[in-house]
Symmetry: C2
Subunit: 488 residues, 2 copies
């Protein structure tokens, strides 16, 4: 089974695709760039969604749902937004099919042409701010703290499952505030929620930072991001939170009467994470034997495999252990299938990333023991059967922590300072990871660096120290280091 | 507040729209036929979704996600399906916009025309069965029991919020089986799940039945349905479960090796309920003062309103009651806003359908009492404060049951037998509701009845007694009564 996966050392990109397919996370579809999210992949996304949704609700947000379609003219209303988003979109031009008069199935009915084309939402700022206009009159209507779970479409030319797909699933928060300060606070608070989720649930360490002007969301005043590092040394933007200022309120005429009884444009934020996180999760932890999942996001946390056959008394013991674990909130599967051999099953559960496997043999049972195998380190231990539930509950916590610490150690070992252009180029080309370097603050330099090295400016870390230095490329003065990396 | 709602007796249709808007369930959107589901409406849908999702999972189903777009040619593969579904669809013909060279915003880039048009899914049988082809080789791959929560688009000409919208949210189950018997069993089991959900959660009594050939889903062998009755005597199809036979397997070449080692086409079912249920929920229980929600689906089950002002000690008592209720799993809001008067708040919570309101005044408190108002009957009682949590928990159960019994009494009083054509016409025209009558079993007669009376054949009830009779229109022989009604 493990042999079916291309080793990371051989071809990291193919390794990723192998994991996606063999761990049954997603399939290609007949629609270019769109994937089918298979039950195992969707179960992981559901766990991510539910955890995030609870965090959004705890911070006062509510869910709503806005239309899939956006009138074409809406995209032109915010000048920067149209430049960034109105390009690669799915465009609906007609609303009816009819039988082909020549008998060739169905054809588009030319008489059913829309007066104005509809765009399948690439993001929903425009239609949401058009709606908020009707909802907001006074400061008493603010803040509006709405989130939406939805599908969006961006007609990407080069796609990869989860990481970049034409259609993807995401959440998009769109909030409206009476003051700039409150909107900035919201933007930063959500960034903290994202970072907490990435680290505590995904066991994926992230760096919180600010995007440069060049990498900013189309229509934003400031874009904050969390950046993670994959095992091949490439960065992944894992989530963004935008302070939109009054840009969309101005574009859609959304005014409110403030406490001083004056008309003012509303202040906005938007923020989102997507199924791309599933790709980040896969690439952060998995190995050459298959998927590795942090226990908090594993659809099945523990599998119990009776060996060599599910003798009735083994099943009985397995059921008892499963019941004890379920009381502790652990999800358990007992695999009592008699057709597949244990070795086949072990490889299968390794492949799909079940964090803990319990092998239950008659000999072990006679000795009052049970074999515990952990997916992250592949370690196997024998544990007394009467303490197994406590042991496994603790082990799941340990695995969650170990995955995070392992990923953080890798990430920390791959943040390297460069102080000369030669060192910078060499680091980007050979070691990879984040390269911490001085930059003169201009888009021109940023673009030049990208052209020379393919590295992009990932972010200006929020915790960057003030440190006078010289730009790595131009030698012009710089006040702090920023992070560059090749990225997904 | 209540005056803002058009009474049902005056204009039922306007009453419904008033409730939808004033109870903040949904708004119109700038996209024709698409609605914005507002936070309160979406919270109700979330509760419905979560309850259904748990029921699907308990019965062995898993969730997955398939593409939004369907290649146009797929729709032509199943002959009956294309007739029923390939007509009023949103058609994507282009994948790029560009800046208008004349400066008028953005225009569709004529060079970015798709080779084959994509249809925004009106339902997903075709793309899912095209995918299942790759997933199924042998009987060991079966059954596949997959559900999807998704948005779908049908270009309806006359729309009403929730009841009929161009885009709507739904779940669609798509299962694959090795035998006809197993697929039929699944179809019926899901019908039972739908009926149980409608009655136990929505408090909406339903009749389980079989659709006539004329009303069958496009591509199905049999369509089962649950039919509910609204307060204006019109029926609402609330959910359907289809036995698809081997139709889609044949259209998409999905074969499997059965236990006898022979190639056979796979057997299929599909089933769905949608945000239409929210419309049914509104119309089943609400009154001229606003929305009425069954406690199991109410986002806020209890509101506590301190009167006349939130004196600190009142708030303290309210917090204590809320904590006691939350321990019992009850969702509680305390409205300590000092700007709005209690009367305003009372009308507001009546409008949005909070099942129980607790009015907490200093005088009551001194007497050790609290005022309890139930939304369904408008009754108010004084309850000793030290038993309030138990009282309210019981009251929520009582309200849930009362709403169901009230709706069932109305429904049962509106199933009337007709034995002559004159009686049938009169019942449909004046009393409304379900008219139980004999029918000769032909589509011709069914269509004629619809043309004469606007009543449609809702279903052949599963519990219909065998009873020889004569067709209400043609006098031809009939073996059992079926139900007719005007419908949404």
């Amino acid at each position: 089974m493990a042999k079916e996966i291309t080793p990371r050392s051989e071809d990291y990109s193919q390794w990723y695709l192998d994991i996606v397919h063999k761990a049954r996370m997603a399939d290609n579809s007949p629609v270019r760039g769109c994937m089918v999210i298979k039950p195992h992949g969707f179960a992981v996304w559901e766990k991510m969604r539910d955890a995030l949704d609870a965090m959004f609700k705890e911070t006062g947000h509510v869910n709503a749902y806005f239309p899939l379609f956006i009138p074409k003219s809406f995209l032109s209303r915010e000048a920067a937004h149209v430049e960034g988003f109105a390009k690669e979109c799915a465009v609906v031009t007609h609303y009816r099919l009819k039988n082909d008069p020549n008998g060739g199935g169905v054809v588009v009915d030319p008489e059913a042409k829309l007066e104005e084309e509809l765009i399948v939402r690439p993001t929903s700022e425009t239609i949401i701010w058009d709606t908020y206009k009707d909802w907001i009159q006074s400061y008493r209507d603010l803040p509006i703290l709405i989130n939406q779970w939805a599908n969006v479409v961006r007609w990407e030319m080069r796609t990869r499952p989860f990481l970049r797909t034409a259609e993807f699933l995401w959440q998009e928060g769109h909030t409206a505030h009476a003051t700039s300060e409150e909107a900035v606070k919201e933007t930063r608070m959500i960034l903290d929620v994202y970072a907490k989720f990435a680290e505590e649930f995904m066991a994926m360490p992230v760096i919180k930072g600010l995007k440069s002007e060049n990498e900013r969301f189309a229509g934003a005043v400031d874009t904050y991001c969390i950046e993670a590092l994959m095992q091949d040394g490439k960065a992944l933007q894992a989530g963004t939170s935008h302070f939109l200022g009054q840009n969309f309120a101005k574009a859609f005429d959304v005014l409110f009467l403030n406490k001083e009884n004056q008309q003012e444009h509303v202040w906005a934020t938007s923020w989102g994470v997507s199924t791309r996180l599933v790709g980040g999760l896969i690439m952060t932890h998995s190995d050459d034997d298959g998927l590795v999942l942090p226990p908090k996001l594993a659809p099945i946390q523990v599998v119990i495999v009776p060996i060599p056959k599910p003798f009735p008394n083994l099943i009985e013991v397995a059921e008892k252990i499963a019941a004890d674990l379920r009381v502790k909130g652990v999800s358990v599967k007992i695999d009592a299938d008699e057709q597949n051999r244990p070795g086949f099953k072990f490889a299968e559960y390794e492949m799909i990333g079940v964090p803990v496997r319990l092998g239950l043999g008659q000999r072990d049972l006679d000795a009052g023991q049970i074999e515990v195998a952990r997916r992250d380190t592949k370690e196997k231990t024998s544990v007394p059967i009467d303490t197994i539930a406590d042991h496994v509950a603790q082990l799941l916590d340990d695995i969650q922590n170990n995955l995070f610490e392992r990923a953080r150690a890798y990430r920390d070992a791959h943040i390297t300072e460069a102080n000369t252009w030669e060192a910078f180029e060499e680091l980007i080309e050979t070691k990879g990871g984040f390269v911490s370097a001085h930059w003169d603050g201009t888009t021109e330099t940023e673009v030049a660096i990208k052209e020379k090295t393919k590295a992009t400016l990932r972010c200006i870390p929020l915790d960057a120290k003030e440190e006078a230095g010289k730009c790595i490329l131009t030698g012009k003065p710089s006040a702090r280091r920023v992070l560059f990396a090749k990225a997904y």
